[in-house]
């Protein structure tokens, strides 16, 4: 084998190792990717499809991932783009926004219904049923929900969420804050009425 051939053989072997390492790392993240995907779309089936499309694309374009960077964010960026490409229903933000309640809104509702001391109880939030949380989240408009899901369920930083959604960090923060307030309003409507 000539030196050139030996170098080429080493290059191929090195690339094969990188690829296997990439694939293993990506598959280890599948559950975490699914948990986010599940709350970005309406059904389990859609979430499964979206995750499969994401991984199909990731396995094809693994070379564009830079080793050592945040792979979970890289995968979620593919996933959120695919979700947009799937033509998720464009949801026009109504011109007339409902009066936005403050951050104490839900707590105040609970206190009004059960008394101020109820807020101290550890189980107070558990009385907002689990289904209530899922339904309320599904009711938050897409733009706001994407950010809330990435940060509060996916545990991404503001900066990661900005990169994943390709929006400025200031937009992440304002959508996150509004999205959480909307979520609390929905929870109050769905759980306490």
């Amino acid at each position: 084998m000539s030196d050139a051939e030996a170098a080429e053989a080493r290059r191929i072997a090195g690339e094969a190792r990188d690829r296997v390492r990439f694939e293993e790392e990506a598959l280890e993240l599948a559950d975490q990717v699914y948990r986010v995907a599940r709350r970005l779309v309406g059904t389990r089936e859609e979430a499964e499809e979206l995750v499969q499309e994401t991984y199909a694309r990731a396995f094809r374009s693994w070379r564009s991932y830079t080793h050592g960077t945040n792979m979970r964010a890289w995968l979620l960026r593919i996933l959120t783009n695919l979700n947009l490409d799937r033509g998720r229903k464009i949801q026009r933000t109504p011109d007339l926004q409902p009066l936005e309640e403050g951050d104490y809104y839900l707590a105040n509702k609970v206190a009004a219904a059960e008394g101020e001391q109820a807020l101290e109880q550890d189980q107070v939030v558990e009385r907002l049923s689990q289904g209530g949380v899922v339904d309320a989240l599904a009711d938050v408009p897409h733009d706001f929900r994407d950010v809330v899901v990435l940060v509060d369920i996916g545990d991404f930083s503001y900066a990661d969420a900005a990169q994943i959604l390709d929006i400025p960090i200031g937009t992440v923060m304002s959508r996150l804050h509004r999205g959480r307030r909307i979520l609390k309003q929905k929870l109050a409507e769905e759980s306490l009425t």
């Binding site: 094969a16 499964e48 499969q52 951050d103 104490y104 105040n108 558990e126 923060m173």
Partner: protein
């Protein structure tokens, strides 16, 4: 403590940034200074912390059985797969 104390309004505004550890030091002083003396706001901050944990827990759904096998299959079918 009343709900209409202007300090409570300010504290309510700072809640998300405080729990996200995203306030500047001067704002942290304002929030903590108020929380020290205000049961009303302290209860609401604790409620919010519990709520966040609960939302994360109840909205998080495990990957369905079988999806991992499908993903491994996609890996094996990808162009140039080993």
């Amino acid at each position: 403590m009343t709900t209409h104390d202007p300090g409570c309004d300010k504290c309510e505004e700072l809640l998300q940034g405080y729990l996200d550890r995203d306030l500047d030091p001067a704002e942290v002083v304002v929030a903590e200074g108020h929380l020290d003396g205000c049961d009303y706001c302290r209860r609401r901050y604790r409620f919010e912390e519990k709520l966040r944990r609960y939302i994360r827990l109840s909205a998080s759904e495990r990957m369905p059985a079988g999806l991992m096998a499908k993903l491994a299959e996609l890996r094996d079918r990808a162009p140039g797969a080993l």
